[in-house]
């Protein structure tokens, strides 16, 4: 396959997200402008101007009408996807790391980093239908985990919130009460920072990537460990194919070590694993730095990767990919 290279960002990529129809690809980077691309040919549709810091995460509503972004400028912003117009700004006292719309797009979960004396927190915000009615108050604030919460997503039926971060423990919280329901133990859990978390298409299970050079597949309700995928380098981004039983892990050595070692030692590959057999299927090379973000098109026929090198690489699979046998 010949990947499409998109060079819109001047700084490392942080997050990639497809909309539900799979025709738009949203990219976030450490430069301040989240960007939307056409997911078929990689043409740039627009940028969302207004943030004043690295943008860590974004999510788009099911109807592709609104975009929410979380940024290191201590805000999360709501945008009109079509026009790039800023609709609302949620102000925090520390950087916003992760954002996620609930099923139905009526709520959003936003995590904030520990900063100065503040501890990290998970905020639940109500998203109004009409941006004029939008308020900044949190419905609920959950505190507890130590260190940065790198990702928080909604569990099945919005009843729970699943979070994971620097303390390498995955937690399931009750949305209604804010109580901790479940957390991973030392044996099955990750050993180092959890960097990424992605839900399966049906939300029944989810995949986490960690700096302990592994990715793990978990049940969304019971938080039981289903599978473990071991790789040779820290995992920064994970993705799950909605079509085939494949998972993709992206990563590479830490950015600080890149210049001190041979480029081949970097392992800047997106590695494909069989979801069930936990065996490696193959690797897709191309980035000049660690892969920070991965996303699968909802149709399962293409995927994109965003790297520390500032490029988004959009891969449309060759027909052979769909016949791979282990």
């Amino acid at each position: 396959m010949r990947p499409i290279l998109m060079k819109g960002h001047e700084r490392p990529l942080t997050f990639l997200k497809y909309n539900r129809d799979g025709d738009l690809l949203f990219s976030c980077a450490k430069d301040h402008n989240p960007t939307v691309w056409f997911a078929d040919n990689g043409e740039r549709l627009g940028t969302y101007r207004g943030h004043n810091g690295a943008v860590w995460c974004c999510d788009v509503t099911r109807d592709s009408g609104r975009l929410i972004t979380g940024s290191a400028d201590q805000t999360a912003k709501l945008w009109n996807v079509q026009t790039g117009q800023q609709l609302f700004t949620f102000n925090f006292d520390s950087p916003a790391k992760s954002v996620d719309f609930s099923v139905g797009d009526k709520l959003a979960v936003i995590t904030t980093d520990p900063f100065m004396e503040l501890s990290s927190a998970i905020h639940i915000k109500r998203i109004a239908k009409d941006p004029a009615d939008q308020i900044g108050e949190s419905v609920r604030v959950i505190k507890g985990p130590q260190g940065r919460i790198n990702r928080a997503v909604w569990g099945p039926l919005n009843q729970t919130i699943i979070s994971g971060g620097e303390d390498s423990i995955l937690r399931i919280w009750d949305t209604e009460t804010g109580k901790l329901l479940k957390e991973t133990d030392k044996e099955s859990g990750h050993k180092k920072t959890i960097t990424s978390l992605v839900k399966s298409a049906d939300g029944s299970h989810f995949l986490t990537g960690s700096l302990d050079k592994s990715a793990k597949l978990w049940d969304s309700r019971t938080l039981t460990l289903i599978k473990t995928y071991v790789t040779g380098s820290p995992v920064n981004g994970v993705a799950m194919s909605p079509l085939l039983d494949h998972v993709v892990l992206g990563g590479g050595q830490e950015a600080s070590a890149v210049t001190t070692t041979d480029h081949r030692a970097g392992k800047f590959e997106a590695k494909f694993y069989d979801k069930i057999l936990q065996e490696e299927i193959g690797g897709v090379k191309g980035h000049f730095g660690p892969i920070n973000a991965l996303a699968f098109n909802p149709d399962g026929k293409s995927f994109s990767s965003g790297g520390e090198d500032g490029y988004v690489r959009l891969h449309h699979f060759d027909p052979e990919y769909f016949n791979i046998k282990i």
Partner: protein
């Protein structure tokens, strides 16, 4: 794709000389032709380059329709959304989106099973059938090879008849010692008992062929496969970087007979292998 050409019809050049800088209004407007039925779209732009010459930039793009791609109505609608943000002023020359010139494949990892098979193939004569009468006096293998062709003969302890050892190796040792009169370590002196260490070195130097410019994916079995047709290979070695575990791009192949090695050099030097051009030569004896 973008090709530059001097303006043909109009003589704007004369006007340019009249007043200096901002002549953009003189340029013909941007033209967009297509996309036609083949999906070819042509964008023609005009601008002044640094020397004040008018330059016509024609950008031809082809949009290919993917077969049986199902797209929702909303997605088709979104296709015609106007650009916004920084994408508005995007000029054709910006080329934010490019198709990789490199074909990227999903690289399959080497199956563990196939690797094992390769290592068992290292002995090229192992699969020859109907040679049960062959018994090697050096290594004691039956039905494998004749004594004279034993690939392990240099591994074996030197027999009592050490005098008839190949002169080539002796010459190498003498060369290493730096001619007559120079100090020769006891282990290298004529008639001295060889220690295993020097024996190993001798083995490395004998009929040894250095292969450089190997691709980093090349492993010892690959090299063996490449060199086996020229004769019996006694040793294959690919230098592996200890830190990275990747090939360092060179290796050594030892042949049992010198003629085979020479043939391999003649044939494979300059041979294209894994999109690289191999360099195959005699390995010079180590001076250390």
């Amino acid at each position: 794709m973008a090709h530059l050409s001097e303006p043909a019809k109009l003589r704007w050049g004369e006007l340019e000389e009249d007043d200096g800088e901002d002549l953009d209004f003189l340029l013909p407007p941007r033209q967009v032709i297509g996309p036609d039925e083949n999906g070819i779209k042509r964008v023609i732009e005009y601008k002044f380059d640094d020397d004040g010459n008018k330059v016509k930039i024609t950008t031809t793009t082809r949009t290919r329709k993917l077969a049986n791609a199902r797209v929702s109505k909303r997605a088709i609608e979104r296709r015609s959304w106007p650009k916004f943000g920084d994408a508005v002023q995007e000029d054709v020359g910006a080329r934010l989106t490019m198709v990789s010139t490199e074909e990227i494949l999903l690289e399959r990892p080497k199956a563990i099973g196939s690797n094992k098979e390769d290592s068992s193939n290292i002995d090229p004569l192992a699969h020859q059938k109907g040679a049960v009468l062959m018994v090697c006096r050096t290594c004691g293998k039956k039905g494998d090879h004749w004594t004279s062709r034993c690939p392990y003969k240099d591994l074996a302890q030197p027999a009592e008849g050490f005098v008839d050892k190949p002169p080539a190796a002796d010459g190498a040792a003498a060369a290493a010692a730096g001619g007559k009169g120079a100090y020769v370590p006891p282990s290298l002196r004529a008639g001295a008992e060889r220690t295993t260490g020097s024996d190993m070195r001798r083995r490395n130097d004998e009929n040894s062929v250095r292969v450089t410019n190997l691709s980093e994916d090349t492993r010892e079995p690959d090299l063996l496969e490449l060199f086996r047709p020229f004769g019996t290979v006694s040793r294959v070695y690919v230098a592996i970087d200890q830190k990275t575990g990747m090939s360092r791009g060179f290796g050594f192949v030892n042949f049992v007979s010198r003629e085979d090695a020479q043939r391999a050099i003649n044939k494979l030097n300059g041979y294209g292998y894994d999109n690289l051009i191999l360099r195959v030569e005699w390995a010079t004896p180590r001076t250390t």
